[in-house]
Subunit: 459 residues, 2 copies
């Protein structure tokens, strides 16, 4: 796919250079909005409005939605009032709201000025929903039906209203108070007789979201129930909008990216990698790095406090990175698995003992196997060959290292299992409990275990 | 949502206990297949076939698809030949293929015996596609149209064929050789006049996949082009099947989970967290832990080789965890961001210099800021208050620590940026280049930088 676009890109830039706008229009009209937007974004800023004006009206709006907000602002500023109104007319409500949210206040005001009173009221209502709510990603254009319509009447209504509606494949049956009674799919309408009554076809067991539900949880319903659209209702269970599957996919990918970023000690950002500026990237990374650096000084302090003893037993120092590293890796394996399972809804708080029991068994098996392998390696390489250990206490030092390894793995897997689940229960973000924080806690714990066992066996 | 199901579950289990099957059937008929499957999976094994027989035929098949493979096997073994045939009749082709793939050979054979010759031929063809290919997730039932049909004829065909087709919302226009000419949506058919010709409505610029394309890349097309279904063609560009958006979502979530698992040094598994057994979990975690443990011994070897000098300068040992930790965290921030961007198609190999230039600037800013903060902390806490450093070389030791920090952060971010991109170019998996491997390499590099600078300034 990429190669195809790459070839088109070269061809298009040649046409732009030669001002062959007729040929350009022909090629662009056949292309997908996302591809056109990608190519236009490579053009010079002053070219973009010129290019945009070549596009047929409907396609233009679709391409506009695909642009990033910088280019959208550039275009809105280049538009005449008439052009702006034309583009806005073609946009669906949720895209208009997204646009207004991204624009600086003055541009947003100009956009609002060019929508009719009805739309403006709707926009202001949608803008009021919190950022992470189902309301913030819904669209307000949908097909509503009455329960005693015939299939024929329903299809007529779809034909009349469908042109301005984002999806016509799921229709919503409401009563006079706009309460949601059921859903009926276009498939059911089309595959049944024309005189069937909507009431007999509709599915009354509707899966729906409330406007204030968390959008991350809402989109997981698409995955679970294989839906194309999800109705959104207000507190009185009145239908106010719907979320389409393409917007749900965007949220799913965003949520997965956010989880991944948090697991890597990054504050999540909204833009794609290359579109995030250096300063913004810096800002999203410094807080955790700083926090973790300061936390790591505690680990240092633990080492310092054992300094006098360590100087007599310097052989043990060389094994600190291996022990801390294995502990950190073992812990983040568990915490990351548990966090992902929490995100996908595979486990909940009530499963905490199942998780602990499972991880405990895994930890014991892994701990013993790694401990034994490590002992063999210590004996053959460090003891027999390199003579790493201090004379007289070789066995005690080797035992210290292997026992520490086993205990550290068990503690690591327990912490990695419990922390994310408890964090979620407390209303904190489980993803933040992932690798870096768990690792930092484990670094300190590993050292304490190490020096504790060493104190008994060696020192 | 969850609470609702939880309440239903209690009610249903009470009905099962009291053998009130009529009431049970009534409640179950109104429920979603995914919810029914979740509740049935909690029942005793010998109850499941009994419960399953209560369900109406069509719903039964939908619930069957939602079960995990253990329960599916249990059911298939409990089915009479007639029951098996009934369920298989209701399944879509892709679900039948998934089922056969999951079952042990003897069960798979029994299933194949109960499909007709035509279906069997199709199944065997689908089974031949590699596991990670577009062919392996496609279904073979779709609506095909001829280009000179009228809208009315097209709608008639949909009405006739639609009942056995997974989606009727996107139809495919093919010629006599089954070559794909274009797509037309049910929306376009319904919103246009009855005597319009399909050829005039169809979109000829079709986004399609080849049977052997990587399924992870194929599903990213859904995200980019907001599609409900993607046609799949063979080498001769003949239409052989399609992928529906709900299956695409499953693959997206799987791919994100796999990336996350690989970033946490886990071999990816196919099942959800709680359904993966202890031994399977152990097997997916031990290889990387073992590899990383052995790698960490090299870090230990580096420390050992500086042992004699370290004993004279033990103050520096206490800062090893902080330096290695910060380096590891800085590196995985970058590698994880880059890997995610590669997965989502936001960056490609050609962007490598953009990425390096961006990360270099970020690294320099972060390095200097953390270096300065660290110096202030060392001066106030370790030098003035705790007298951590060795007399006479305090300033040199502090400078060593801060300079190392700056260099380590820069090297970490450069490695984190370059390794995943190069890995992908070489056909390796970038996700494996994430945190644990980068961290382990960085541990060794950090120590070498540390001891190198110390050798110049202090020792």
């Amino acid at each position: 796919m990429d190669e195809r676009i790459f070839e088109l890109e070269e061809q298009i830039f040649k046409l732009i250079e030669n001002r062959q706008f007729v040929e350009l229009k022909e090629i662009l009209s056949e292309m997908q909005p996302a591809d056109i937007a990608e190519i236009f974004e490579e053009a010079k800023d002053k070219e973009i409005p010129v290019l945009f004006r070549i596009l047929p009206k409907e396609l233009a709006a679709e391409v506009f939605v695909e642009f990033d907000s910088d280019k959208q602002e550039l275009l809105v500023n280049a538009f005449s009032d008439n052009e702006l109104r034309e583009v806005l007319d073609e946009l669906f409500m949720d895209d208009t709201v997204d646009l207004i949210e991204e624009m600086p206040a003055s541009v947003a005001k100009r956009i609002l000025r060019h929508t009719d009173a009805n739309t403006r009221r709707m926009i202001n209502q949608l803008l009021a929903y919190p950022d992470d709510s189902a309301g913030s990603i819904m669209t307000t254009e949908y097909i509503d039906l009455k329960k005693n319509m015939t299939v024929d009447e329903a299809l007529d209504r779809i034909r009349n209203k469908g042109i301005d509606t984002e999806t016509i494949y799921t229709c919503y049956v409401i009563d006079s108070r706009r309460n949601l009674l059921g859903t009926v799919s276009l498939r059911d309408l089309l595959l049944n007789k024309k005189d069937c009554i909507v009431k007999d076809l509709m599915d009354e067991n509707v899966i729906y979201a409330n406007t204030l539900d968390d959008k991350g949880e809402v989109v997981s319903l698409f995955d679970r129930y294989d839906m194309l659209a999800l109705p959104v209702v207000d507190k009185e269970r009145r239908l106010v909008g719907l979320i389409t599957v393409d917007d749900a996919i965007d949220v799913m990918q965003e949520e997965a990216s956010e989880d991944i970023e948090k697991m890597a000690a990054i504050l999540p950002s909204e833009r794609t990698y290359l579109k995030t500026g250096v300063f913004e990237t810096f800002r999203s990374r410094i807080p955790w790095l700083l926090f973790l650096m300061i936390s790591a000084t505690f680990t240092g302090a633990i080492i310092s406090s054992f300094e006098a003893r360590l100087a007599q037993c310097i052989a043990l120092v060389a094994f600190i990175p291996m022990l801390m590293g294995t502990g950190g890796n073992a812990g983040s394996q568990t915490s990351v698995s548990v966090i992902r399972a929490l995100s996908l809804g595979d486990i909940e708080f009530k499963d905490i003992f199942k998780v602990i029991w499972k991880e405990l068994r895994v930890a014991v098996i892994i701990g013993i196997i790694l401990g034994v392998i490590n002992f063999i390696k210590l004996y053959l390489v460090d003891f027999l060959w390199l003579h790493t250990f201090d004379t007289g206490v070789e066995l005690a030092q080797m035992a210290t290292i292997c026992l520490t390894l086993i205990f550290v793995i068990i503690v690591a897997k327990m912490l990695g299992a419990v922390l994310p689940i408890v964090a979620k229960k407390l209303g904190l973000d489980p993803a933040v409990m992932a690798s870096p924080l768990v690792t930092t806690i484990l670094d300190a714990v590993s050292l304490l275990i190490y020096f504790g066992i060493a104190a008994i066996l060696v020192l």
